[in-house]
Symmetry: C2
Subunit: 218 residues, 2 copies
């Protein structure tokens, strides 16, 4: 019981800081997207594919969350956008407090679209509001079509599911209709986009989704 | 600071219960393997491939850890071995206490090789000793060759890394030598086996690894 109460205290604190982040972002006119997935589903590859297209329309910034190493941050920085690295030091998710510190280190005046690339984990990141406007999750089709039922919270908390690595569709047993159907049983308004970061298929649709989201607002 | 102290208390408690698990397993002559990986790397598929071969040599049991659903347990139970399901209720890893309860629900007299299939997560499961004799991690080559540096603890804490889904090698950019080299920079004595649960390649080698481990003992 003790563990649970501690967890609830920390969760309450997180909600409070997430609200502050949301206000800070709103004040500076920044729209924020929290990108989440299991390890290796393609979050960084998606950013690398998308940022060159987004840069024509938005001043893009990225906050990179990693347990250790800055290699994702370096890959993104090469695209000429602002990047701030959060090393969680072994913690398996970003929380609002980590993002809060990063926002203060960022010059928010020069940014209008900000990504939080979360730690690769299909469980805990879904529990922590960071103050973002939208939550987007990636599911690589190599992970199997049973993931919505097995990791439901992530699918419930997201507004968009990106099915990535569709270039591998003919080599893996992944039932798209089943995965989408079971994800929508959990979250009936979940948007879905099929993407290959390798071939570029679906990337335009994702850029359009972002433009519509920014227009609709937080 | 408060969070860290709470974490250390819980960790100390976990070590204590893990020791009790280890003694209980030893008393009953059970050799235990903790299977860990990111979601969808193929832990259950590996068990489904391996158990028919292992059943000729061992009395096999499986403790299945899942956030929710019993579909992995059902897949394994179809093979005619003892299965006990742990639903963690959203917790992102197995801990020694969950396994302790499961061991008491299991008839250990009838088992000599026991698998703990952990929750799909490349981070937290590595932090929790369950009382196992060996830790085995799977890395699907679809997840990318940068995972050892990004998720180091899992690679440091395991005795064997299984590189799974090698049937997809020609379709993904995965540098085997780099991944193995970087994993061994973290853990110089890490064993490595390349497997395809789809084609069966490497499965014999994995069965031999288990036989040697059981012979060597806990």
């Amino acid at each position: 019981m003790h563990e649970i109460r501690v967890g609830e205290d920390l969760r309450g604190k997180n909600e409070e800081i997430a609200r502050e982040n949301r206000e800070l972002l709103k004040k500076h006119g920044v729209f924020a997207i929290n990108l989440m997935s299991a390890p290796g589903a393609g979050k960084t590859s998606l950013l690398v594919r998308t940022i060159p297209l987004l840069k024509e329309k938005f001043a893009v910034g990225v906050i990179e969350g990693d347990l250790q190493t800055s290699r994702d941050a370096e890959r993104v920085a090469e695209l000429g956008v602002k990047v701030h690295q959060i090393e969680t030091g072994g913690v398996c998710h970003l929380d609002a407090s980590m993002v809060h510190s990063a926002l203060h280190a960022f010059d928010l005046e020069g940014v209008d679209l900000l990504f939080f690339e979360n730690v690769g984990n299909l469980v805990c990141p879904a529990e922590f509001d960071l103050g973002e406007d939208r939550r987007v999750m990636l599911l690589s089709i190599t992970e199997g079509d049973d993931k919505p039922k097995k990791y439901p919270l992530m699918f419930m908390e997201s507004q968009l599911m990106i099915l990535n690595k569709i270039d591998l569709a003919e080599f893996v047993d992944f039932d798209m209709e089943k995965a989408i159907g079971e994800a929508r049983d959990l979250n009936s308004v979940l948007d879905v986009i099929r993407i290959s970061c390798k071939t570029g298929d679906g990337v335009d649709e994702w850029v359009e989704w972002i433009e519509r989201a920014v227009k609709a607002g937080g």
